[in-house]
Amino acid sequence: MSLLALQSDFRSWLTGASGDAGRRLAGACDAGLRVYQNNYRAQLVGCLEQTFPCLRAFVGPDAFLRAAVSHIDRRPPSAWTLDAYGERFGETLVALYPDNPDVHELAWIEWAMNTAFVAHDSLPLDAATLGAVEWDSARLLFAPSLRLAPLTTNAVDIWSALNEGREAPEARMLEQAGAMLVWRPALLVRIRVLDRATHEALSHARQHGRFDMLCALLVERLGEQAGVAEAGALLADWIGSEVVVGLAPGEDDHAS
C-alpha cells in the first residue's frame, strides 16, 4: 500500500469509521485502530470542553457531548493547531439549537475570549501624542484582540455567573438588543456589554476607521454640539480602556 493510500484510508477510518479502510489498514489487528479512533475523538471532545467550559455547564454535560459529537462528524479538524477547533462550533450549535440565542451567544463569548487571549499584543496609546493629532483625518487603530458581536440575551450575565462558579441566572431576551465587546488590554481579557447606540458608534468607527466619520454619525444623530461631545467622550473611553490603541495620520496627511 502506498503512503498516500495509507494516509487516505486512515483519514476515512478516523472521520467515518470506514470498515473497508480499516480492513485495508489493519487486517485482523483492529485493537490498534480502535485506540487511534478513540484518541482522535476523545481529544476533540476534550478540546471543545476546555474551550467552552461555561457553555458545557449551562447546557449540561450530556447535551454538550451530543453537540461535540455532532460537530466532530460535521467538521473534521483542519487547522495546524488543535486550539482552533472551536472556531466553527457556533455553527453547529445554531444548527442543533436554532431557537436558543442564549446558547449561541454564550459560545461566542467563550470563543472570543479564547482568541483574544492569544491575539497580537498592543500597547496603550501614549496620551502625550494626542495634542499633535489632526483629528479631521486621524485614523483609529483598534486593539488586535477586539471582538464585537450583537447581544440579544443575558448571555454575558450567564457567562459571568458560571465563570465565577455561581449559579447561572435563567436565560432571557434583553428588552433592547445591544452588543458584547471582548478585548485584551495588556494580558487580561475583558468583556463589556454595549447599548445599541454605542454598538452602532463603535461598529461605524471600526468600519470607517476615522474619527471625523464617527463625529459625522453622532452629529447626525445628536446635533452638532452634543454629537461632537459624545464622539470625544467615546474616544476618550476607548483610549482609556485600550480598545483604541493607536492613531495614524489619514490619507490626506500621507499625500502632503
Partner: protein, 277 residues
C-alpha cells in the same frame, strides 16, 4: 545548501513545563537544567503564554517540542506552520527544536494525533524530504522522536533502522523516548533492547521518560503516571550505551505537584550517574 550543524550536545536533566507549574517556575528557582514546552502552545500571536515563556527563558534553556509538524505527511509540510515555528524559535533561541516521527495531516484534514508510518523506503524518502524542508526553513537541525504506536504495517525495515537511516540522510538528531520504545515493544512484540542497540548513538541528543497505562489489549502512552520500573530498567540500559544525554520527565495529564516530578528526575540523575561510573 550547506549542511546545517548537528544539534549541540547537552547532558542536563529537565522537565516538561506545564501550566500547573508556571508559578513554581516563575516564583522559585526550580532545580532543572532545562525545560521543554509544547511548541504549538506558544506559536501564537501574543498574550500571556508567550509572556510567561519569555520569563522562563530568562531562567532556563528551553526546548521546543512540537506535535503537529506531521513530518510523515505525503503532501509535505505547511508553510504557515513552519513560519510560526521559525518566529518562535528565532525569539526563544531554544536548545533544540523537536517533533515526532509520525504524521497527522493529509490534505485539509489534521487529526492532531501522532499517527504511525509504515517503515518503507517510500515513507523514508517522504520523511527525509520533509525534514530537509523543515530544517532549511528553520535554519537549524531538528530532533525527531520515536512515537508510541498501536498499529504496525508491512515495511522494508524496522523502526530503529528507519530512524538510523533518517538521521544519517538528513543530519537530524534523535529524541529517544524510552517509554515509547517500551510501549511499542509491548504492543508489537519486538525486543526493546534490539531497538536501543540499533539506533545510532551519535545522533541521540535527548531522552524522554514518561508513564503509560495498560489498556484492554494494548499498552497506551498516556503520560499520566509515574515512570514504571520496566521503563527505568530500559533507561539504565540506554544511558549505559549512549552516555550522558539530556533527559527529561514528560507528564501531560494528572499533573502532580512539582516536587513529585523533581523526585522522578532525581531518580533519572541517580541512574545516569550509576551507569556512568
Amino acid at each position: 545548501m550547506p549542511a546545517l550543524p548537528s544539534p549541540p550536545r547537552f547532558s542536563g536533566f529537565g522537565l516538561g513545563l506545564r501550566r500547573e507549574h508556571y508559578q513554581d517556575f516563575l516564583g522559585t528557582r526550580v532545580p532543572v537544567d532545562f525545560v521543554e514546552v509544547i511548541s504549538e502552545n506558544f506559536m501564537i500571536d501574543g498574550g500571556q503564554p508567550r509572556h510567561i515563556l519569555r520569563q522562563v527563558r530568562e531562567r532556563h534553556p528551553v526546548i521546543l517540542h512540537g506535535v503537529s509538524m506531521s513530518i510523515g505527511s505525503h503532501d509535505g509540510l505547511r508553510p504557515d506552520y513552519l513560519r510560526r515555528l521559525k518566529a518562535l524559535a528565532d525569539e526563544i533561541e531554544p536548545l533544540y527544536v523537536s517533533d515526532h516521527l509520525s504524521w497527522s495531516r493529509i490534505g485539509d484534514f489534521s487529526s492532531h494525533d501522532l499517527l504511525p508510518l509504515p517503515y518503507t523506503l517510500e515513507a523514508l524518502d517522504t520523511v527525509c524530504d520533509n525534514i530537509d524542508m523543515a530544517q532549511e526553513a528553520l535554519g537549524r537541525s531538528m530532533l525527531f522522536e520515536n512515537p508510541s504506536s498501536y498499529l504496525g504495517f508491512e515495511g522494508d525495515m524496522s523502526e530503529w533502522e528507519f530512524l538510523a537511516q533518517m538521521a544519517r540522510r538528513t543530519g537530524c538528531g534523535l529524541l529517544l523516548d524510552v517509554n515509547n520504545v517500551y510501549v511499542s515493544a509491548g504492543n508489537h512484540g519486538f525486543d526493546p533492547h534490539a531497538f536501543l542497540d540499533g539506533i545510532p548513538a551519535e545522533h541521540v541528543r535527548q531522552i524522554h521518560l514518561a508513564g503509560h497505562s495498560q489498556g484492554k489489549e494494548l499498552l497506551i502512552d498516556t503520560h499520566d503516571q509515574p515512570v514504571t520500573d520496566g521503563v527505568w530498567a530500559l533507561y539504565a540500559y540506554a544511558v549505559a550505551r549512549l552516555g550522558p544525554v539530556a533527559t527529561m520527565i514528560e507528564r501531560d495529564a494528572d499533573i502532580p505537584p512539582l516536587a513529585e516530578l523533581l523526585a522522578e528526575l532525581d531518580m533519572a540523575r541517580g541512574l545516569a550517574l550509576k551507569e556512568a561510573a
